[in-house]
């Protein structure tokens, strides 16, 4: 498929000698939400951590194969510039503990050298607005980021990732620590975000995948079992393994 924003080609990754993913080739369409589902330990997180080259910061971790961003192999680009274009939101909300709400959102720009206060103000406003958090924090921008509620902290982390204006947003189980109301807010947000970004979301929750994703990939034991339009994958799975997993008859 041409027109994919990101693409992996026979991507394998290891932690030491243990293979986490094996020869995965998959496309991530531009302005679409692709969800990655599969049981714990199947390599979902490893796959997306290879896509922004965060996999390699773990000691003894390595990867083989290609990850293409607009046709360029990210492993031939500078890791820092790749991470600026491919943002990430983590499973557990992790605002910088010493920074205020404002400073958290501005961190990516500031620590890359932006000083202009007016531009920073604009970026913080835009990002918080996009992350659907502005109305809740506009009067407490100087409050510590960690003083927000769990769901707000996660949206703060999304705002922080959006502030550097990435092209792709990787989300690693962003709702797994949140209650249903906060989860619904994030899901609405993902729906809006795909207008501007290409979104990849790892999730344990199959209903969530069905709700937010245009495409879904099913991983099992480090291998890509099936990849299809979400509706097709859930309604007419081609593989028996996929069917077993999505219907909860596993093992």
């Amino acid at each position: 498929m041409i027109g994919a924003k990101m693409r992996t080609e026979r991507l394998s990754a290891w932690y030491g000698t243990k293979a986490a993913i094996k020869e995965i080739s998959i496309n991530f369409e531009e302005h679409m939400v692709t969800s990655i589902i599969g049981p714990s330990g199947c390599g979902k997180s490893t796959l997306i951590r290879c896509m922004n080259r965060l996999h390699e910061v773990v000691p003894k971790a390595r990867a083989e194969g290609k990850v293409l961003l607009d046709g360029e192999d990210v492993y031939e680009l500078d890791a820092v510039s790749v991470r600026r274009r491919v943002g990430m939101v983590f499973q557990k909300a992790n605002p910088f503990p010493t920074m205020s709400v404002y400073d958290n959102v501005a961190a990516g720009l500031r620590l890359n050298g932006m000083r202009d206060r007016k531009k920073l103000d604009e970026a913080v406003y835009r990002s918080l607005k996009q992350a659907a958090l502005w109305d809740e924090v506009k009067d407490s921008l100087d409050a510590p980021g960690v003083s927000l509620s769990g769901g707000q902290q996660q949206r703060l982390c999304i705002a922080r990732a959006l502030a550097v204006q990435p092209e792709v947003l990787l989300m690693d189980e962003p709702c797994s620590a949140l209650d249903p109301i906060a989860t619904a807010k994030i899901e609405d947000l993902v729906f809006d975000l795909k207008k501007e970004y290409t979104v990849v979301i790892v999730t344990h929750n199959m209903q969530q995948a069905a709700r937010v994703a245009d495409y879904t990939a099913f991983l099992y034991l480090g291998k890509l079992i099936e990849y299809n339009v979400t509706r097709e994958l859930f309604e007419r799975p081609a593989e028996e393994l996929t069917e077993k997993y999505i219907t909860g008859r596993f093992g």
Binding site: M88, A107, R160
Partner: protein, 294 residues
């Protein structure tokens, strides 16, 4: 309430025995606390009672040759500030290396080496600094008289302080969660800036606490100073001259046959304890987290 099944009959009252054991153990623990606190309390008490009497205003203005401790306080402050100036950057940078990069064999080796350094008896450190200067003097690099000087004192104290700062800095930075590092890297912030601007501030209070406690430790060192800074009856006279310090004053005055100087030694002890106390309080204040997290 009636249970739907019969409990087995006990030969003795188990609850009673548990309660007695609990009492006995709590009492034993309390006794141990008291035993541990007795020497501490008595030191503080003696230093306060005997020292406070000795601390007339003239004690602070006179130098040790005239029976005062003015130059000793000055000397201790000079020694610990200059030692910090040397040790804090070196120690903290070593700590950063150990925590952020020292994952391989080299890191392990350095960590072990630093650990050993923290255990070296301070008198041995004194001999090291002393013989280092003499070895340099033999080569003609420095004057042999530098062996007894502020400079050699700083070398000795830094040798003690650097490994302590390095280890506490490493521990403080290791407490910074990896997720904080990863989220900074994921924003496209280069690694060096992630460490300097995100990891260091996050571990900041721990860093300061460690630095202050290391400072308190060297402020009280006597043994290495006997062989290096040596002691002096006068105030600070230059980096290449001997310098007085509170521990040294306490040592010489306590050994003196004059009761007046013995009492002044108590006064100097009280001042030294107060300096330590101040440093400890400062480290407590520093270790309070800036933002309380939920």
């Amino acid at each position: 309430m009636k249970l739907p099944f019969a409990l087995p009959k006990l030969k003795f009252n188990r609850n009673m025995r548990r309660r007695l054991t609990d009492r006995a153990m709590s009492l034993a623990a309390l006794m141990c606390v008291v035993i541990a606190l007795v020497p501490l309390g008595s030191i503080l008490f003696e230093a306060l009672v005997r020292g406070a009497g000795a601390l007339r205003p003239t004690v602070f203005t006179l130098d040790t040759r005239d029976g005062g401790i003015g130059n000793a306080i000055q000397g201790t402050l000079i020694l610990i500030s200059l030692t910090s100036l040397v040790s804090l950057p070196v120690g903290i940078l070593t700590g950063i290396y150990l925590s952020e990069f020292g994952k391989g064999r080299l890191g392990g080796g350095i960590r072990f080496f630093v650990d050993v350094m923290t255990q070296i008896p301070s008198i041995v450190v004194g001999i090291f600094a002393y013989s280092l200067i003499l070895a340099l003097a033999v080569l003609g690099v420095v004057s042999p008289r530098l062996a007894f000087s502020t400079t050699s004192g700083i070398i000795a104290l830094s040798t003690i302080m650097i490994p302590v700062v390095a280890r506490t800095a490493e521990e403080a930075l290791r407490l910074v969660p990896n997720s904080t590092r990863e989220s900074a890297l994921a924003l496209g912030i280069p690694e060096h800036r992630t460490i300097l601007r995100v990891v260091l501030p996050t571990g900041g209070s721990g860093l300061i606490t460690g630095a202050l406690l290391a400072l308190a430790r060297v402020a009280g060192e006597t043994a290495p100073l006997l062989l290096t800074a040596f002691g002096s009856g006068f105030g600070f006279q230059g980096l290449n001259q001997p310098i007085e310090s509170l521990p040294h004053t306490i040592y010489t005055f306590a050994l003196d046959s004059s009761t007046g100087l013995n009492q002044t030694a108590w006064g100097a002890s009280l001042i030294l304890v107060l300096i330590m106390l101040l440093i400890s309080i400062a480290s407590r204040v520093a270790s309070r987290p800036r933002f309380a997290s939920r």
